[in-house]
Structure formats: structure tokens, C-alpha cells
């Protein structure tokens, strides 16, 4: 509110400010509180980056090796290989499928809340979503273990194959052995990111001016035509922001995913099979490794990758917002 300070009475009417007023202590204190976040981020980036590059500096592992598909960190089992590609691929694939499931559902829910729902329905669904946000990730993981995983194992344990008359078998996938799988991870994540994507897309839909809706309806379109051809295109960058935020949350989620994906450190093969992600491998191994050994340094490198992913998404969201403000 800088413009208000300039609206002070003319200096002649005012006593010369004392030393205390000139220092403006309150301003300094609140500024220190707000700017402490800059310090926190700077420290966090420096520490994680420093630990993350130890694998290359102290352990002399070539930088290119982290993109190898083999994870063999234990020197007692032969030559080591610190390929973290399986974890990166796991994070990307598990997050990708979670977004495929969650985006239509969340955007649909946002449209329901902003365009369709009567006031009473909104008054029930919105608080329900806030409760979803509050449910701790370990509780989602536990629900995954006790309900989703046994359900997948019991229902889809057979091999899945699709055959066409002339071409023959076009698709085959092993069934769920234990239920701990890529799909289980994606399903748990898709529910966890639903409130994020919904609330951000909801704001984007609400931001579309009411006149545009009225104008469109006056032309004789149905509500769905208005949504399809007017609302979704106008709110597109807002919806994209929502998806990026959901993606960030999904890629960074650790415990719930670790509990249901089976943690197999190999390249993801099928959606019914166990995989692993960056976060879950860090969670599992950090406690079992010694500070300074290459194995743990590789885990720090993985957390550096996670940090880079999240900072990139912040920059991406800022760019999307700028585009929206610009248009």
C-alpha cells in the first residue's frame, strides 16, 4: 500500500519525525519475517545441490552414469552402477498416469462446481474437498494397502491380452501378482492431487466473465456447448496451471506412493507391475545407508533431481500465469 504513505499531510503540518519513526522498526521486523523465506530457499538449494553433486565430486562417478538403466549401489555385489533412470522413469510414468486419471475428473468437478451445481451442492462439495486436502499422505497410503492393493490383486490377477482376428495378439500384459503396482501408485496419487487440480481450475473457470456465458447462451447454445467451446478455451491456461501444480504434488509425494508401488528398482515394464520412484527410493534407503558413502550420495543426487523438477514447475506456472495476464 505504498500509495498511502505518499498521501501523508504536507510536511509543514507534521512534527519532524523522531529517530524511532525514521528507523521504522515495525517495517524492518515484518520485512525480515517475509524475506526469511528467501533465505530458506537459498539455503535449501545450496545444501541440496552441494550434497547432490558429491556423487560426482567425491565418489568420481561420471555424470553420464546416472542416466544408465541399472541401479546397483551395493559394492559387495560386484561393480556398482548408479543409474537413476529407473527412478526418474518411475516418477514420470506414475505421475503421468495419475494425471491422466485425475485431470478429467478434477476438471469435471471444477466445471460442476462453477457451472452446474446449485448453491446447496457447492456448500457440501467444497468443504468435502478441503477435508480431502487435510487427509495425511500416510492415511492415503494405508487405504491403498488395505483396500486398493488387495482389490487389484484379487480382481485382475489374470494375464490381460487383446487379440484381433487377422493381426493376432496385439496387446498383452501380465496380471497383478501382489497388487503393489504402478497403477496402485497412480490411483492413490490421482485422488491426492484431485483437490489441487479442482480448486485451481475452479478459480480459472470463475474468472471467465459472466457476460461471455450470457452472450453465448443468448445465441441459443446449450450449456455444454458453452462449456466446450467457450469456457474451456478461455480458461485453458488456468487449467494447465492446475495440471502443472497437480503434477508437482504427485512427483514429490513420498510416503503414500512408497507404500503401494512395490518398490522394484528396474525400468517400468507394465502398469500391473511393481515400479519405484525417486521419492520412494529415497525414503526407503536413506535410513539404511551411511553418510558419505556413494550409495547415499546417489540418494542426494536423486533429491537434487526432485528439487530441479519442482523449481522448473514453479517457473512454468509463472510463465503460464504471465501469459494469462497478458492475453
Amino acid at each position: 500500500m505504498a500509495q498511502l504513505t505518499s498521501a501523508l499531510p504536507a510536511s509543514g503540518l507534521r512534527a519532524r519525525p523522531g529517530l524511532l519513526a525514521r528507523i521504522d522498526l515495525p517495517r524492518r521486523v515484518v520485512f525480515a519475517a517475509a524475506s526469511s523465506m528467501i533465505l530458506i530457499v537459498a539455503l535449501l538449494m545450496v545444501f541440496i545441490t552441494w550434497q547432490g553433486i558429491q556423487l560426482f565430486i567425491a565418489d568420481h562417478v561420471p555424470v553420464g552414469q546416472i542416466l544408465a538403466p541399472t541401479w546397483q549401489p551395493d559394492a559387495t555385489n560386484g561393480p556398482t552402477s548408479f543409474g537413476i533412470l529407473p527412478f526418474i522413469a518411475g516418477t514420470v510414468f506414475v505421475t503421468g498416469v495419475a494425471l491422466l486419471i485425475s485431470t478429467p475428473l478434477s476438471v469435471g468437478l471444477a466445471l460442476f462446481l462453477s457451472e452446474v451445481a446449485p448453491r446447496w451442492a457447492r456448500a457440501i462439495v467444497q468443504p468435502a474437498l478441503e477435508i480431502f486436502v487435510g487427509i495425511p499422505s500416510v492415511v492415503w497410503g494405508w487405504l491403498g494397502i488395505t483396500i486398493l492393493v488387495p482389490f487389484l490383486a484379487d480382481t485382475f490377477h489374470k494375464k490381460i491380452a487383446i487379440s484381433l482376428p487377422v493381426v493376432g495378439q496385439v496387446f498383452s500384459m501380465p496380471g497383478f501378482l501382489t497388487g503393489f503396482s504402478w497403477l496402485a501408485g497412480s490411483l492413490v496419487l490421482s485422488i491426492m492431487i484431485l483437490p489441487t487440480i479442482t480448486s485451481v481450475s475452479y478459480d480459472a473457470f470463475r474468472a471467465v466473465p459472466q457476460e461471455l456465458r450470457t452472450g453465448s447462451l443468448a445465441l441459443g447454445t446449450t450449456r455444454w456447448q458453452t462449456i466446450r467451446h467457450l469456457l474451456i478455451p478461455s480458461a485453458l491456461s488456468g487449467v494447465l496451471t492446475a495440471v502443472v501444480l497437480g503434477m508437482t504434488r504427485a512427483a514429490g509425494e513420498a510416503l503414500a506412493v512408497q507404500m503401494v508401488i512395490g518398490n522394484s528398482p528396474s525400468m517400468p515394464a507394465a502398469i500391473t507391475q511393481p515400479v519405484t520412484t525417486l521419492t520412494s527410493q529415497i525414503t526407503l534407503d536413506m535410513g539404511n545407508t551411511v553418510f558419505g558413502e556413494p550409495w547415499q550420495d546417489a540418494l542426494w543426487t536423486m533429491s537434487l533431481v526432485l528439487l530441479i523438477i519442482s523449481i522448473t514447475s514453479v517457473v512454468l506456472v509463472r510463465a503460464l500465469n504471465k501469459r494469462r495476464m497478458g492475453s
Binding site: I135, V138, T221, G287
Partner: protein
């Protein structure tokens, strides 16, 4: 087209039946289908939340009792979760003790002082970055800083500090929103009466923002209470010993024997496994006959706390707004 009696969106704003010729039967059907699907998303979310609550209510039946809530964990029987619940509450109190003042002061800067300049946008960038950094990475940062560099080991204080810096952006943003919601006229009037900027903030803006600030505090508290990934490597995940609540020996510069402070529940410099971390620990170890019952009980308690925090924030905010605006 007399057969198509479908309601055109917009109610009274929709065209009269005679003008509806252009709206084909297909698009009316599509509109109907879309309405059904969009309602379906809302019903799905409510049904899911209902199912989760019913599930945990049923699972906790016969497990959660006063003795379960209060007594120590047991190796042989069902035992209890008393020390874990205490650690959760103690951790929450310690975190909020730091996060509330710093967050509100930061919010004051962002709402009342910050102008359009590079420093403000740097603070915003930091705020968004911390919010999007995965909680496990924040936990690792706490591991380097508090556990290793400061040589504290796993402590409640280290966990609380890590939780503070993770939740500071949320607390700051919610405070900023609460303060921005105070009408500009209140500030102008106060300044016109000759009050200084700080007097205006202290005696006019802050009191008016109290309902919003309290809502912010409760929402942040809800998130802190359920967080586990941050605490895994900062506060530890061992089973706590029996806490003697009459033991106030929390710190001593002369006594080098630190063993005794581990059994004082009041000491911030002892490991402190919380309820959420305990869920993670129990399910990953999977030992004991009663694991499922205990985890269900813990999860039910966490979910009830989420419900209480959410409803509490809503109710208190509403009551305070009524009180303060009526006075």
C-alpha cells in the same frame, strides 16, 4: 421439434421454445449427458469421502478407547499410542509457536508494505518454491542442517523447525489474504485521523483480520499435524519410551549425561516420533499381530483431527466474524 422438451441451459435466460429450432436433438442430448457426468463427479467425491469416513469409523470400532489413546505401545498386546499422540501435539505446539508469529508478520509485510519491486517478486518466488518442493526434500534439508551440521541428532526441535520452514509459505499466504480482505477505507480513515502506518496496522487492520488469521492458523495446524515425510529424517522414527510427565529435566549445561532428557516429555531435544510417522513405521515393519488394528486406530484419530480442524476453522471464523462485525 416438439419432441425435444429438453431444458436449455440458463433457465429464464434460455431462448423461447419457438426460437429453439437451431438446437439439434444431438446437442441437447450431449448437454443432458454432460450434466449427468458433471453431477456424477460431485457425487463421486462425496461418496468417496463418505466411504472413507465410514471405513475408518468401522475399523476403529473396538480399537480406539480411552486406554488406547492414553497408554504406551506394547510389544505383546494391542497397547496404546499415548506417547505418539503427545509427540504429535507437542510437535504441533512447537511448530506453531514459531510459524504463527513469523507467518503473520510476513503476511503483514506482503499485504501492507510490499510494493511492485524485485524484492517482492523474489519473496513470492521463494514462497512458491518452498510450497512446491517435495516434503521429503525438506526433510532431507533438515537432516543436513539440524541433525548433521548442528549435531542435534533426531530431535523434536529439529522436526518442528523443518515443519516450520515447510509451512511458512502457507501461513504467510493465508495471513496475507486475511489482511488484504480488510477494506481499504478502514486504513484510509485511520491514516486520515493522523495514526501512523504501524498504529493503523496494529489497531485497525489486525483486529479486523482476526477471523481470517485464525482460519489460516487452523488450516496450517491441520497440515502440520498430519505431516510425516518431513519428520522421518529429522525427528526420528523409533518407538518412544515411557514418558514421565513429572520429569521437567529438559536441559542442562553442566550435566553431560543426556540419557535422562530422552524420557522427559517436555524436552525439545529428544527424538519424537509422531502419530503419522508411527503409521509409516508400523506398516513398513509389519511386525506383530495387532499392526492392522493399531494403524487403523491411528488413522481414525488422524482423520478425526482433520475433521475437527476443518470444522473448527469454519465455525470459529464464522463466530468471530459475527462478533467483530456486530460490535
Amino acid at each position: 421439434m416438439t419432441a425435444t422438451t429438453g431444458r436449455v441451459a440458463g433457465g429464464p435466460l434460455g431462448p423461447k421454445p419457438s426460437l429453439r429450432r437451431k438446437t439439434s436433438r444431438g446437442s441437447l442430448l450431449a448437454d443432458r449427458a454432460a450434466t449427468v457426468v458433471l453431477w456424477g463427479t460431485g457425487v463421486f467425491v462425496l461418496a468417496l469421502l463418505g466411504a472413507i469416513i465410514v471405513h475408518f469409523a468401522a475399523a476403529a470400532w473396538g480399537v480406539v478407547s480411552p486406554s488406547f489413546v492414553l497408554s504406551d505401545p506394547s510389544d505383546t498386546g494391542l497397547g496404546g499410542i499415548g506417547p505418539l499422540l503427545w509427540n504429535s501435539i507437542y510437535m504441533l505446539a512447537l511448530t506453531m509457536l514459531i510459524a504463527i508469529p513469523v507467518g503473520i508478520l510476513g503476511g503483514i509485510y506482503m499485504s501492507e508494505y510490499a510494493g511492485e519491486n524485485p524484492i517482492t517478486s523474489a519473496i513470492r518466488f521463494a514462497e512458491e518454491s518452498i510450497s512446491s518442493v517435495p516434503s521429503i526434500v525438506v526433510g532431507l534439508f533438515g537432516l543436513i542442517l539440524f541433525v548433521d551440521n548442528f549435531k542435534w541428532g533426531f530431535t523434536v526441535l529439529g522436526g518442528a523447525l523443518a515443519l516450520t520452514l515447510f509451512n511458512l509459505p502457507l501461513m504467510t499466504r493465508l495471513s496475507e489474504q486475511a489482511l488484504r480482505a480488510v477494506p481499504q477505507e478502514e486504513r484510509t480513515a485511520s491514516l486520515a485521523l493522523g495514526a501512523t502506518k504501524w498504529q493503523t496496522i496494529r489497531h485497525v487492520v489486525l483486529p479486523l483480520a482476526i477471523p481470517g488469521l485464525i482460519t489460516g492458523v487452523i488450516l496450517t495446524a491441520g497440515r502440520v499435524f498430519g505431516e510425516a515425510a518431513v519428520l522421518l529424517f529429522t525427528a526420528g522414527l523409533g518407538t518412544p519410551p515411557h514418558y514421565d510427565f513429572t520429569n521437567f529435566k529438559t536441559f542442562s549445561l553442566t550435566d553431560t549425561n543426556t540419557a535422562w532428557w530422552h524420557s522427559s516429555p517436555w524436552s525439545p531435544l529428544r527424538p519424537g516420533t509422531t502419530l503419522s510417522v508411527y503409521i509409516y513405521k508400523l506398516q513398513s515393519e509389519g511386525l506383530g499381530v495387532y499392526v492392522n488394528q493399531i494403524v487403523d486406530g491411528c488413522a481414525a484419530i488422524l482423520i478425526s483431527m482433520v475433521l475437527i480442524f476443518n470444522l473448527g476453522a469454519r465455525l470459529l471464523g464464522r463466530i468471530l466474524t459475527r462478533r467483530l462485525t456486530a460490535a
